[in-house]
């Protein structure tokens, strides 16, 4: 029974069922805010009521009629065009090298690559603000893209690593023993095999960039206000029910991303 992974405690016991019931409550707590957002987005009033008394699309209409919101959407979209390909490229190459190289300190290097996940984002924000100001990039689209790539890179490295770990390395060896160069093997054998991880990494990069706010607030300027930054300043200063509709749009995008991740590397391996 080397790989008997099916954890099965004393089923039927009172504690077991009590555990499962409280688990269910925790999932309800997790999903509650998402339900609230949908309730608010389609509510005819500024503040949603429960049970809902009718529904309307007026907040969605208000969003698409507001040039400032559309401008923020445009900035976020431009950022995606910069961030997703670059993060995927840097993440894929780094994950491949980390998986194939064996040297002392490899684990340390891996921890270093994943470290932006754990470093307080307020620290990343101020450090980048200072350096990018020195380079004349603070407040520019390029500066924001650099911040987003830094935050998204660990996710891309992780998803590609998942694909690399489940890949049969003998295929690479076979390719090279037939005379293919490492570069040719990487391009024609490895890349097609780890494509699911790369796609999942691109999805994570897109979602991270599109929702990033903590670092962006340090790097933004009036001309480069992204969607989340605009939402932040709106919530901070006024109450605008349009945010409800924007939030619902974000959640729809998250669901699309979930479907893509499930179809590529599978949700269970995403983290």
């Amino acid at each position: 029974m080397a790989t008997d992974r099916n954890f099965s405690p004393a089923s039927g016991g009172l504690w077991h069922w009590l555990g499962r019931a409280s688990g269910l409550l925790v999932y309800l707590f997790l999903i509650l805010p998402v339900l609230v957002i949908f309730l608010s987005a389609f509510s005819p009033q500024a503040y949603p009521q429960f049970p809902p008394n009718g529904w309307s699309l007026r907040w969605f209409q208000a969003f698409f009629e507001n040039p400032a919101w559309l401008r923020a959407l445009q900035v976020s979209a431009w950022l995606l065009l910069l961030v997703v390909p670059l993060t995927t490229l840097l993440g894929t190459t780094a994950a491949y090298a980390l998986a194939r190289l064996t040297f002392r300190g490899r684990n340390l290097l891996q921890a270093f690559v994943l470290s932006p996940l754990i470093i307080p984002q307020v620290v990343l924000g101020i450090a980048l603000l200072y350096v990018l100001t020195g380079m004349g990039l603070a407040g520019s689209l390029v500066g924001l893209a650099i911040g987003h790539i830094l935050v998204a890179l660990p996710y891309a490295v992780r998803t590609v690593s998942v694909s690399l770990a489940s890949m049969d390395r003998r295929l690479e060896a076979a390719s090279m023993s037939l005379g293919a160069t490492p570069a040719y093997t990487f391009r024609h054998v490895t890349l097609p095999l780890i494509k699911p991880g790369i796609v999942a990494g691109a999805v994570f990069a897109a979602v991270t960039s599109f929702g990033e706010v903590s670092v962006s607030l340090f790097l933004t300027a009036p001309g480069t206000v992204t969607m989340p930054v605009r939402i932040f300043t709106y919530i901070d200063q006024t109450f605008d029910p349009v945010v409800n509709a924007v939030s619902a749009l974000f959640i729809v995008l998250a669901v699309l991303a979930l479907v893509l991740i499930e179809r590529t590397i599978g949700l269970t391996k995403a983290l």
Binding site: D4, N6, G23, L30, V36, L128, I261
Partner: protein
């Protein structure tokens, strides 16, 4: 297996590693080092950065009652969030690994992963809609006749902690579910056949084996909670004595960059030290229960 060109192989891997490393050197290591230099600069009365060096900013940070209080509150809130997350994560992970139906497990995973794909501003905003004076909870309570005047649920640390727990719970559930899932089914069965009850088995077999998973989750949640400012700023308000809020204000509103740098580095060092201690304890426990 013959590897005709294993040195060319390694060279190619090093080549592929280069762009990522250059990026991280330029935008993670260099900014980190410049942040240290910046924190050692003096400022004049107009908050202009002077070319002279001193540890004045750190003296400012550690001698001020305000910042000492803010650091204490930040660590306390982060620790409480981590504790609550681990407590709630246990039943959630339990349900995840004991669910046999594949489609139900996918639903649970969906609920767990979806917060990671939703912007933190959106999730925070949902809590504002719930907790505001004319928000959903007050509305429901008033209709039920339980309250006459709306309760002040927003703008306090309790609301911040509730929102934190909801936002960060998945980070605690996933490692715990992994370590629960790795327990061989034979172990609890053996414990039962030796006469141990369900509770005894849990306390003496399952719980000790899942402590590493609980610790991994706690470390991540602690580090994230200690370093984030968006949720507490929007839900707790700008007056909450939390260090990340102070850093945000010093950097962007007061524009005292050296002080903000000194505050950031103090926060980073203290959080990293605590996370490092937790990780050391985790490794020791792992050696004890798994023997390697």
């Amino acid at each position: 297996m013959s590897r005709p060109s294993s040195s060319g192989n390694a060279l190619f891997s090093w080549l592929l590693l280069t762009p990522g490393m250059l990026f991280l050197l330029a935008f993670l290591v260099l900014p980190g080092m410049l942040l240290i230099v910046l924190s050692l600069h003096d400022v004049d009365g107009m908050l202009m950065v002077l070319p002279t060096y001193s540890v004045a900013q750190y003296i400012n940070v550690f001698s001020s009652a305000t910042y000492a209080h803010a650091l204490g509150t930040t660590l306390w809130v982060a620790a409480l969030t981590a504790l609550l997350c681990v407590l709630l994560a246990y039943p959630a992970a339990w349900l995840l690994v004991t669910t046999r139906s594949r489609s139900w497990r996918t639903v649970l995973y969906l609920i767990l992963i979806s917060p990671l794909l939703t912007s933190v501003v959106i999730r925070t905003f949902a809590w504002i809609v719930l907790l505001a004076q004319n928000g959903l909870i007050n509305d429901v309570l008033r209709r039920l006749g339980l309250i006459d005047a709306p309760l002040a649920l927003l703008w306090n640390m309790k609301a911040v902690i509730v929102a934190y727990v909801q936002v960060m719970l998945p980070f605690a559930v996933l490692p715990l579910a992994t370590s629960l899932g790795e327990i061989p089914a034979a172990l609890p069965r053996a414990s039962h056949s030796l006469g141990a009850g369900a509770r005894h088995t849990f306390m003496h077999v399952i719980l000790p084996l899942t402590i590493p998973g609980m610790m991994s989750g706690a470390i991540i949640v602690f580090a994230l909670a200690a370093g984030s400012y968006v949720t507490p700023l929007l839900i707790g308000g700008r007056l909450q004595p939390l260090l990340p809020i102070a850093i945000y204000q010093q950097a962007l509103q007061i524009a005292n960059l050296p002080l903000a740098a000194a505050l950031s580095l103090s926060l980073l060092v203290v959080t990293a030290a605590i996370a490092g201690c937790m990780s050391y304890l985790q490794k020791r426990w792992e050696r004890r229960v798994y023997g390697h």
